[in-house]
């Protein structure tokens, strides 16, 4: 390179400066590469808003803040899913502890409960997700190793029985203990809930749960507008954001208002019994007192609120 007609004046200086210039070029290229690599993150952050980012934990929200949050979520649902929904926040009722029992003698494995859960709880249509998995079990034991949740044939098969499994709403819930940020907790009526706007999606609770009861939103759920269930609870069936945990809440948006869970209403055989175990006249109380019920994995000490029994 001649001194008189420098192609790049910056390269024409002392070697050290040339090195410095190369470094500068390298740094510029590096920054450009970094910006390109991070482009998807920029696109993603355009969908975020400050209010959502700064939203406090559910249990620290004031009544006014809750109103604002629910309004924002309703607007988001309208924008993202085209559905008009109303988000409520029913509170636990004093003197109520929920219990659930399932009569294995009459369950036919029709999976109506799974389907009802899928619809009620606004689950992702693409994955056909549900909080309930129904296992076809071999008679002669309660061995899940011989069970099959992916059966695809007419039911009931004569040599099988059927065992639906969902969240056991454990009194001593390993998922609640595991969560590093208290995004999941047990309500006074015994229901374990998740604040979907607080969860960071580490999935430690999913590893901790012995009943495969928790689900993760691997991507944002897809639901056609006309299929969205508009009757939504903040802590239960509202459409979950991408990247957070979700779980069965005993349909608290229904049950806390005196209705039955969707899975129970859908059951054609009457295998499901739900109610307040503190109420001596409730059916659930009668089942627990009079049937020989058992719980899953009792030896783990999780104290499930979900009971199974055989009738004959």
């Amino acid at each position: 390179m001649s001194q008189d007609s420098p192609l790049l004046p910056i390269l024409n200086n002392e070697p050290t400066d040339r090195r410095g210039a190369l470094k500068a070029v390298g740094a510029t290229l590096g920054m450009a590469a970094w910006a390109t690599a991070m482009q998807p993150l920029v696109e993603w952050s355009e969908d975020l808003n400050v209010d959502e980012f700064l939203q406090k934990h559910y249990r620290e929200l004031t009544a006014d803040q809750k109103v604002a949050v629910f309004k924002r979520l309703e607007e988001d649902t309208k924008r993202d899913y085209g559905a008009d929904v109303s988000i409520s926040d029913p509170q636990p009722m004093p003197g109520v502890q929920y219990g659930y029992a399932l009569n294995l003698s009459v369950c036919t494995g029709c999976r109506k409960c799974s389907e009802a859960c899928h619809i009620e709880n606004n689950h992702d249509r693409a994955t056909n997700n549900s909080y309930i998995r129904v296992f076809e079990m071999e008679k002669g034991g309660i061995d899940f190793e011989k069970g099959d949740a992916t059966y695809d044939h007419p039911v009931p098969q004569p040599d099988k029985y059927y065992m639906p499994v969902q969240c056991q709403q454990c009194e001593n819930a390993p998922c609640v203990t595991a969560c590093p940020i208290e995004a999941t907790w047990q309500e006074p009526d015994g229901i374990v809930v998740v604040d979907y706007n607080w969860c960071i999606g580490c999935r430690y609770c999913e590893a901790a749960c012995p009943y495969h009861a928790r689900r993760f939103n691997w991507e944002a759920p897809t639901i056609p507008a006309e299929e969205v269930n508009p009757d939504q609870g903040y802590l239960s069936n509202r459409i979950r954001p991408q990247g957070v945990m979700e779980k069965c809440t005993f349909c608290l948006h229904r049950t806390r208002e005196g209705r039955m869970p969707a899975c129970l209403e859908a059951c054609p055989t009457g295998a499901r019994v739900f109610g307040n175990v503190l109420d001596p006249d409730s059916e659930i109380r009668w089942v627990i007192e009079n049937k020989r019920t058992f719980v899953l994995k009792e030896e783990l000490g999780t104290k499930p609120r979900f009971f199974y029994f055989f009738d004959k």
């Binding site: 090195r19 470094k23 390298g26 590096g30 590469a33 970094w34 390109t36 690599a37 991070m38 482009q39 998807p40 993150l41 696109e43 993603w44 980012f53 934990h57 998995r133 296992f135 061995d143 899940f144 190793e145 069970g147 949740a149 499994v165 390993p174 203990t177 595991a178 969560c179 590093p180 940020i181 208290e182 995004a183 607080w198 969860c199 960071i200 999606g201 580490c202 999935r203 430690y204 999913e206 590893a207 901790a208 749960c209 012995p210 009943y211 495969h212 928790r214 689900r215 993760f216 939103n217 691997w218 991507e219 944002a220 991408q242 990247g243 957070v244 994995k297 783990l300 000490g301 999780t302």
Partner: protein, 433 residues
């Protein structure tokens, strides 16, 4: 060659600017940032081989960053994880990196236990490996989060911190604490050298002691993260923490031996042969302990049989027509056992290819054993005994490779700084102005 606590060699020449720093006795609040700036200059300059190496690592790191950005935007559907196998390659790599971080420091225990002067020089190398490894393990957890934008929920005092109940909160505390301790030690030692002062033991020995205890804690807490879960029988064993520690005593020193080799080949900063020999001795004992515990674990599982052995059965022999993990674990077994045998050959005590091969075998073997052989099997079969297979997706491999590239980038820079600061300016110029 003992680097400290012996007096600093006065023969070491300092360029005028450096002397000026000490002579005018500028405050450290000015001096330390200037030191860091020069470190940055030094770390971004060097021979072409170094530049090419660093650019290549940067490129891989950027590929990983891009894959992560995609994953954050579109969701973790880009991974091959599922509700059945809800943790995968990221947490597997996390577990190994925590071991590496712990092992990098635990190996200095003999230095203090036996008052082995030569080993003291390795402290700074071990701490550097620990820093890089802890950054890698932190990144491995961050990329596993579904909502990294909500990271502030984890900050104690600002978010909600489920301490002491959640073992994950313990892990957050010990990992970050460990990073700070080691940054302090490495930063202090290098800064003192750079100023031409003898490091004051008061300012680093207590921290080295603390970091040793802390090193044991990070891997123990990480083991507790898994073994405390009653719903996962494969993890639910008291042997997990001891096994983690034993394997960390292998992977850490093995990694340091590799780092020493690289430094010997590429810088003028050479260690005497004895510390590496001590490391080999540590590896010999630790690898035997590790294999013994593994054998004991497997005996208990297979001899007892039943449901608790289902995961081990699937891992080693496959089940229900699925054999996805079988090649992984047998590769790990062969690498670990052959690696252990190589370490026991007398030639391993001498410099040469043998110990390098043995180190690489054991590092890869333990990486698999701690990851695909320990994290994944706990999910297959699932808690309700469903068998859903898992093998990492391309995005997961890219992100993990990116994390490793970034870790090696940090480590390379740190080793280069160490070499520059510790070699006499007359030879290599120290840290240039």
């Amino acid at each position: 060659m003992a680097l400290w606590p012996r007096p600093f060699p006065v023969s070491l020449k300092l360029d005028s600017a450096l002397s000026a720093v000490t002579h005018v006795n500028t405050s450290h609040s000015d001096g330390y940032p200037r030191f860091l700036r020069r470190c940055f200059t030094e770390a971004t300059d060097g021979p072409w081989t170094y530049i090419i190496w660093m650019v290549a690592l940067t490129a891989v790191a950027l590929v990983g960053a891009n894959a992560w950005a995609l994953q954050v935007r579109d969701g973790m559907v880009h991974t091959n994880m599922s509700d059945h196998v809800s943790w995968g390659l990221y947490i597997a790599n996390f577990t190994f990196c925590v071991g590496l971080a712990a092992g990098g420091v635990m190996m200095v225990i003999p230095a203090y236990l036996y008052d082995d002067d030569d080993m003291h020089g390795l402290v700074i190398i071990g701490e550097s490996v620990a820093i890089a490894a802890i950054v890698m393990s932190t990144l491995s957890v961050v990329v596993d989060l579904g909502r990294p934008d909500r990271f502030w929920h984890m900050i104690p005092g600002i978010g909600k911190f489920n301490w002491p109940m959640s073992m994950l909160t313990w892990d957050i505390l010990v990992l970050n604490g460990y990073l700070l301790i080691n940054l302090h030690i490495v930063g202090y030692l290098l800064y003192m050298r750079y100023l031409g002062l003898r490091p004051n033991p008061k300012w680093y020995v207590p921290f080295v002691m603390l970091s040793i205890v802390w090193a044991i804690s990070i891997h123990t807490v990480t083991a507790f993260l898994y073994c405390g879960l009653g719903g996962r029988p494969f993890w639910n064993t008291a042997l997990l923490a001891p096994r983690f520690l034993a394997s960390a005593f292998v992977s850490g020193p093995a990694f340091i031996i590799l780092a020493l080799r690289v430094m010997r080949l590429s810088t003028k900063f050479h260690f005497p042969p004895q510390p590496a020999r001590t490391l080999i001795q540590i590896i010999r004992v630790a690898m035997c302990a590790n294999l013994l515990m593994l054998f004991s674990e497997l005996f208990t599982l297979f001899y007892t049989g039943g449901g608790h052995a289902a995961a081990a059965q699937h891992l080693f022999f496959g089940s229900h027509g699925s054999y996805g993990l079988v090649p992984w674990i047998w590769t790990a077994m062969v690498l670990n056992i052959v690696g252990a045998i190589l370490f026991f050959l007398p030639a391993a005590l001498e410099r040469g290819w043998l110990r390098i091969v043995a180190c690489v075998m054991c590092i890869v073997g333990i990486w698999i054993e701690k990851g695909m052989g320990l994290i994944i099997p706990a999910f297959i079969p699932s808690t309700l005994h469903e068998v859903v297979e898992y093998s990492p997706s391309l995005v997961e491999w890219k992100i993990t490779a990116g994390i490793w590239a970034f870790g090696l980038l940090l480590l390379s820079a740190m080793l280069k700084l160490i070499a520059a600061v510790f070699t006499s300016p007359s030879e290599s110029g120290g840290i240039p102005e």
